[in-house]
């Protein structure tokens, strides 16, 4: 390995290329993420079908019926999307980016490879144990105790690599992304440990405290790992794909302010009222970091909007960032007590969670995979046409999916808060919405097939088709 020239990233611009380093762990993390995306995706489609018409459950062969049932597919869907696809795409991207931003080789590549192996083991464990009914039954914290410990080990190894590399850095100033990753890999596991009560194999607290802790955890694993990680990734990719420097490093630091808001999930519930009001207050305050992000996004994109036509990766990122801004605003709206009273427990919330985890962070991850896989392999992506199909099927399908669920949620909320309408009628009224959701979900699924084929063929070294113009080859 020759490292004659070490690029020095200024705090404003990530360097175009870092020192040479072996990127096998990063690459396998990205591949694994793409592979695991399909399990929660399929589970989601099956659930959408079951909700559209419950009689389709009779199609499931008798021996499989205990495993292929809504109540067991739902934790599989959520956990594998979060801790399989998203987390592994994050981990691969982080391992790829940190050496480039610090000018130092990755702290321990063998450890990173062990990390890929263990993380796959974890996700495989989740994919097997959840349908078999091994669950702790707390949202986002369903994984059983041994898997909780394995998850912490995976986070820990990733943290060693991130911190180890950052501490050996050859540049004085750390770019915002590196500090985001340092925070995400240290504070994320802390939230995971407390939320999952890892010192107790049952993983649960008792009574009110369990509910309060559960929603502290749900909201803060989202903040500390998924959002902090995603912002670090976005602030790396935005300048890189637009060719513009990040508008403001100082504003980017304001991404971490919504730790205190978890209890807005429990409005009007049995919890203490002061806590609800408190969490609403802090939820409104998240307007500030959101405004800072919006400004940074729009100003960094300035003069580069036309590039979204050329680069599918930038398009995914730009649309993902716009959706992220909408997510934050929607989140604030949902924390208003009147609105919350109506939409809580409805399909609106399902739409909101898909906005956050699919339209925002998965879009970021598509951009990351499309940017880093060619870099790591040193060759162009296989098919521009399939990438276009991936983008449009996903965007259109997902938009229809989310709008459909939001409308469905408003209809449900309105019926329930009117009172006097038998509950069963409000269930039957959902059927058309569930049909639209199923069809939209199929479109999103078809998009992901295009995605997987592109990555598979690129990994196998099949020639790019159709041939790309030289300048666009690696974007």
């Amino acid at each position: 390995m020759s490292q004659t020239t070490v690029t020095t990233p200024s705090p404003q611009t990530p360097p175009a290329a870092g020192p040479s380093h072996e990127g096998r762990a990063a690459r396998w993390f990205l591949y694994s993420g793409v592979f695991w995306l399909f399990v929660p995706g399929l589970a989601g489609l099956v659930m959408a079908l079951f909700l559209y018409d419950a009689r389709t459950q009779e199609w499931v062969p008798e021996p499989l019926r205990s495993a292929v049932i809504f109540g067991r597919l739902r934790p599989l869907h959520v956990n594998l999307l979060l801790f399989g696809w998203l987390s592994m795409a994050y981990a691969g991207s982080i391992l790829h980016i940190v050496p480039r931003l610090t000018g130092a080789p990755l702290y321990a590549e063998p450890l990173a490879r062990l990390n890929v192996f263990l993380w796959n083991l974890l996700v495989l464990g989740a994919a097997v144990s959840l349908p078999l009914g091994f669950t702790q039954g707390r949202e986002y914290a369903e994984l059983v105790w041994p898997l909780d410990l394995l998850q912490l080990l995976c986070f820990g190894i990733l943290a060693v690599n991130v911190w180890g590399t950052a501490l050996r850095r050859r540049v004085q100033q750390l770019y915002i992304s590196v500090w985001s990753f340092m925070a995400a890999t240290s504070i994320g596991p802390l939230v995971y440990a407390v939320g999952n009560k890892v010192w107790d194999p049952s993983g649960a607290y008792t009574g009110m405290n369990d509910a309060i802790m559960n929603y502290f955890y749900v909201h803060n694993i989202f903040n500390a790992w998924f959002t902090t990680g995603a912002l670090g990734l976005a602030f790396y990719l935005l300048p890189k794909l637009t060719g513009n420097p990040l508008f403001s490093h100082r504003l980017a630091i304001w991404g971490f302010a919504s730790v205190w808001t978890g209890q807005h999930h429990l409005l009007y519930g049995p919890g203490p009222e002061w806590l609800e009001i408190f969490s609403v207050g802090f939820s409104i305050l998240t307007f500030l970091p959101n405004a800072a992000f919006t400004l940074n996004y729009v100003k960094t994109m300035e003069g580069a909007w036309h590039k979204v036509r050329e680069s599918v990766a930038l398009r995914f990122l730009a649309v993902g960032c716009a959706f992220y801004i909408v997510t934050c605003l929607q989140g604030i709206a949902q924390s208003f007590r009147g609105f919350n009273a109506m939409v809580h427990f409805t399909n609106w919330v399902i739409g909101h969670s898909h906005l956050a985890f699919v339209a925002d962070y998965s879009f970021f991850c598509f951009a990351l995979v499309y940017t880093f896989v060619p870099q790591l392999l040193g060759r162009a992506l296989h098919s521009r046409r399939l990438m276009e199909w991936h983008f449009w099927l996903t965007l259109v399908g997902l938009t229809v999916f989310m709008v459909d669920l939001w409308v469905a949620g408003l209809v449900q909320g309105q019926s329930w808060s009117t009172g006097g309408i038998p509950f069963m009628e409000t269930v039957r009224a959902m059927q058309p919405y569930y049909l639209i959701r199923l069809l939209a979900g199929l479109a999103v699924g078809a998009g992901q097939v295009c995605f997987a084929i592109t990555i598979w063929k690129t990994a196998r070294g099949e020639a790019a088709y159709p041939a790309l113009r030289p300048g666009a080859a690696l974007a």
Binding site: A54, R74, P75, A183, M208, D210, I253, W260, P272, W416
Partner: protein, 161 residues
């Protein structure tokens, strides 16, 4: 003006997290509610049924939490039959709680008293054949569960008074 140093940022955010935890989790824990009249000390059989409820993911479609805003208004069959508002003390012996976040089906906080006649028998039949009671329901049949598990589940549902 230099951006703040990394140490400052990391310790700052850690501190912010810990303070947030102290206020939003720690403080409420100090103020633990005594068990209410609805709090149940489960028998081993009921506890077993509760574990089956959790294992089968009933809580992904059914909540166990009646909010203040829906008392007198929330409807399963007739206006207000959702039952009385849930109080912190109702959950005193539950580990974990099964509040749920989504209602594909109705709230079950007070489901035991809802069906007419022999409620336990109704629960058993409904678990096996939900379509017979509610055509068009999205609830799956749980006929595939062993009979003793269905019994335990029904015994647990009967604690939801």
């Amino acid at each position: 003006m230099r951006p703040p140093s990394i140490r400052y940022l990391l310790f700052g955010s850690l501190l912010f997290l810990l303070a947030g935890m102290a206020v939003t989790v720690g403080l409420p824990a100090l103020d633990e509610a005594p068990p209410s009249a609805l709090a149940v000390r489960y028998t081993p059989q009921e506890e077993r049924g509760r574990a089956i409820y959790l294992r089968e993911g009933c809580g992904y479609c059914h909540t166990q939490q009646v909010r203040a805003v829906e008392v007198e208004r929330g409807t399963v069959h007739v206006r207000g039959d959702i039952g009385p508002e849930s109080a912190p003390g109702d959950y005193a012996f539950q580990k974990p709680v099964l509040w749920g976040t989504s209602r594909q089906g109705p709230d079950l906080s007070h489901v035991a008293g809802r069906p007419p006649g022999n409620s336990r028998e109704w629960q058993l039949q409904h678990l096996a054949e939900p379509q017979r009671f509610n055509p068009g329901t999205v609830m799956p049949s749980f006929r595939h569960l062993p009979r003793e598990e269905l019994d335990a589940l029904a015994d647990y549902l009967m604690t939801l008074r």
